[in-house]
């Protein structure tokens, strides 16, 4: 047999096998293939694993389009504004999902299937899964169900349990306790704390929320009558930021203004940081190929003050189906979201190193196992978690706070000046967008 004939035979055999495999796959798949646009975050590998599990169990195909944080937002915007979205599920962050709700881009899930409902044990995360289009309000009271949460992404305190035990310390519940513990554990080779301070899309702003909320401050607060109040230069925010800076300057990393989430996690994984206040990446610190502190990290809700307990911002992720995809793909997307909410899927999600959105799993027997010891802290933190921004101009406000907080942390601006500047700039953004907001009273 000549080489050409052999090659031709192999080609024919290969084509036949591929055709058979395709037929088998089409026969077993109940739904159309779908594509999910998602960001690359520490919890992504867990999500990828459950997607693979879904494909194995159902025969359905799910493609993942993975992007950096800002890149994912841009792709989602472009997709929903086109005639037909290439993505059947958008994974939207707490910092920008409102823009998609108010723009009318997301299909109410009960329009796809009137019987669809959020599982009883699935967190609604401050009702962020619902939208009342008439009242333009985030609420499940009269609002329609638009999304299913896929990741809680709340901040929790990660601390070196072994060092704490050695020094006879307990997990701090206040910033003062955290400061004292950090001073005790700080050495030439180990930072008392490592904090994210770099300017990004929703980086330093996200991480300072526990400090400013627990001191009674905020950035832009929604009042009971639905109006907004700029609070970024309130005395509470000032006190919160002073606490952040005290930790950064006295016991923190020398380059806090340049620290990204990756740096902070690296510092913990390499034993360079005693505690970090970070979103959780459960699989990471107990994986001996990535961590030098396997089994040594303890978890607790973020500290607060004596007056106001821990309050963590919701940096969670929500899955929504765009209106501009075919009915067949909407059904397929809903099939995945229905499966994702099941107890088995949520347990698999946790086992794969991500954080479940089911209360039942967070509070299950899994939480008693050493590898899932973070679940108790998470279950304690989630009920106190709050939405950060509830208006579509959030990305413009974030651009301001990311810069001004970073300048204050890096010493480029004095703290009061940074907060006053931010207040004036945010007020202008909100006024230009049509909100009735008074000029801010400046800190003296």
């Amino acid at each position: 047999m000549s080489y050409r004939t052999k090659q031709s035979k192999h080609l024919r055999t290969g084509l036949a096998a591929s055709a058979l495999a395709l037929c088998a796959s089409l026969a077993s798949a109940a739904e159309a293939p779908i594509t999910i646009v998602i960001n690359q975050s520490p919890w992504f590998p867990g999500f990828q694993t459950v997607v693979e599990k879904y494909e194995e169990e159902t025969g359905n195909t799910v493609n993942l389009d993975v992007n950096p944080f800002a890149g994912s937002l841009e792709k989602q915007r472009t997709a929903v504004r086109s005639d037909e979205s290439p993505f059947d599920i958008l994974i939207m962050n707490a910092g920008f999902f409102v823009e998609f709700y108010t723009g009318g881009f997301i299909q109410p899930l009960t329009d796809i299937d009137p019987d669809f409902a959020l599982g009883e044990d699935i967190y609604t995360f401050d009702d962020s899964v619902c939208w009342n289009a008439e009242a333009k309000t985030i609420t499940c009271d009269g609002g329609e169900l638009l999304t299913v949460p896929v990741n809680p992404n709340v901040l929790i305190l990660h601390y070196r349990q072994d060092l704490y035990d050695e020094a006879g310390l307990t997990a701090p519940t206040t910033w003062d306790e955290l400061y004292e513990n950090a001073k005790t554990l700080q050495t030439n080779r180990r930072y008392g704390i490592s904090q994210r301070g770099q300017r990004g899309t929703f980086d330093v702003t996200y991480d300072v929320f526990p400090y400013i909320w627990s001191h009674g401050g905020g950035i832009v607060d929604q009042q009971e009558d639905g109006s907004f109040q700029v609070s970024v230069n309130s005395p509470g925010t000032l006190a919160g930021m002073e606490t952040y800076l005290k930790l950064a300057n006295d016991v923190g990393h020398p380059s806090t203004a340049g620290q990204t989430q990756t740096n902070v996690i690296q510092n913990m994984a390499t034993g360079r940081a005693a505690p970090i206040n970070s979103v959780h990446a459960p699989g990471l610190f107990d994986d001996d190929s990535k961590s030098m502190v396997v089994g040594q990290v303890g978890y607790a809700p973020p500290p607060g003050t004596a007056e106001i307990p821990s309050a963590t911002p919701l940096g969670h992720w929500l899955a929504g189906v765009p209106k501009n995809v075919s009915d067949e793909n909407k059904q397929a997307a809903l099939a995945f979201l229905t499966w994702f909410q099941t107890d088995a899927a949520q347990r698999a999600y946790a086992e794969a190193g991500s954080m479940p959105v089911s209360r039942a799993v967070l509070e299950s027997d899994m939480a008693d196992q050493p590898e899932y010891r973070w679940m108790k802290a998470m279950a304690e933190a989630v009920p106190n978690a709050r939405l950060t921004f509830t208006f579509p101009e959030a990305t413009q406000v974030l651009a301001i706070t990311e810069l001004r907080f970073n300048q204050a942390i890096g010493g480029e601006l004095e703290l009061k000046e940074a907060l006053n500047t931010a207040a004036e700039e945010i007020t202008k953004v909100m006024q230009d967008a049509g909100y009735d907001i008074p000029a801010p009273e400046l800190l003296q």
């Binding site: 929903v80 723009g103 651009a399 890096g410 480029e412």
Partner: protein, 291 residues
């Protein structure tokens, strides 16, 4: 002759039409967008005419001002260093015959490396805790530096990366220019007793001026458009210390979704760069004529 003219036009027009479709139309769309604010309501884009309001906002934009200043510093310092080092390297190697394929390959390696990898390499090297630069400083008993996190050092650190990345580009163009210079002039100069410095000052530099000018203009255009190195290394921070114009446009246009304002910013920057190129070209043409 008539047939020649017809075919010349017939072959030129498709390219011109394609150029118009791909370049001029998007620019016109961007120009139109710059006079509007765009809002999305019920999946529909609502264009509100705002006249020159977007342009009027430009001078008050703190981020744009910082970006413009940093871009200017970045472009001038980085390109000046690249031209200087590139020219010295070209002078040193132009007469080398042995191993020229090897050294030229080695010299152009940095241009071949994708931006994302350059960002990763230098971010690791600059890392405060794990970077090789700080490891060396500590080994020498010196204090580690916050290369990317300090407002005083961050822009310089980014410039160093750009110089490393783009000096080979200048080197290659300048080397090609040097190798195309006629040997007989240098031989005549030697016979007349001209020193190496005199040859460089009175022959090489004047003859090289057009090549130097073209290389300089190319690099300045590219330096004004710098984005990937900043995005990967510092994200424009700390504060505004490495903010550059293209990054500001990216933030305003894409991240903040201020498309009308972002378009006005883009048009303004295009106009400034175009004016700069025209001025540089005219100046070069004048010098070239004198030379």
């Amino acid at each position: 002759m008539k047939t020649d003219t017809f075919w010349r036009h017939a072959t030129l027009w498709p390219a011109l039409v394609l150029f118009a479709l791909l370049t001029i139309l998007p620019l016109m769309k961007l120009f139109a967008l710059s006079f509007h604010d765009v809002e999305w309501v019920n999946r529909e884009a609502v264009w509100d005419w705002v006249g020159l309001a977007n342009y009027a906002k430009l001078p008050q934009d703190n981020l744009l001002r910082a970006g413009a200043l940093n871009t200017l510093i970045f472009a001038v310092v980085a390109v000046a260093l690249q031209m200087l080092i590139g020219f010295i390297l070209a002078l040193l190697t132009t007469r080398v015959v042995r191993g020229r394929v090897f050294y030229r390959t080695v010299f152009i390696l940095p241009i071949l490396v994708p931006g994302i990898i350059i960002g990763a390499i230098w971010k690791l090297m600059y890392s405060y805790d794990f970077g090789v630069l700080n490891s060396v400083l500590v080994a020498l008993g010196l204090t580690p530096q916050d290369w990317l996190g300090s407002p005083d050092l961050a822009l310089l650190s980014v410039i160093i990366v750009d110089v490393w990345h783009w000096t080979p580009f200048c080197f290659l163009l300048l080397l090609a220019g040097l190798e195309s210079l006629p040997d007989d002039i240098f031989e005549a100069a030697k016979i007349d007793g001209a020193t190496r410095w005199q040859q460089l000052r009175h022959i090489t530099l004047p003859l090289m001026l057009p090549t130097i000018a073209v290389t300089f203009v190319f690099r300045m255009i590219l330096a004004f458009k710098v984005f990937d190195e900043i995005y990967l290394l510092t994200g424009g921070g700390p504060g505004t210390s490495t903010e550059v114009i293209s990054f500001t446009i990216y933030r305003r246009f894409f991240t903040e979704d201020q498309t009308g304002y972002g378009a006005a910013m883009s048009i303004a920057v295009i106009a400034v760069i175009a004016a700069g190129i025209i001025a540089a070209t005219r100046a070069t043409a004048g010098k070239g004529a004198k030379a």
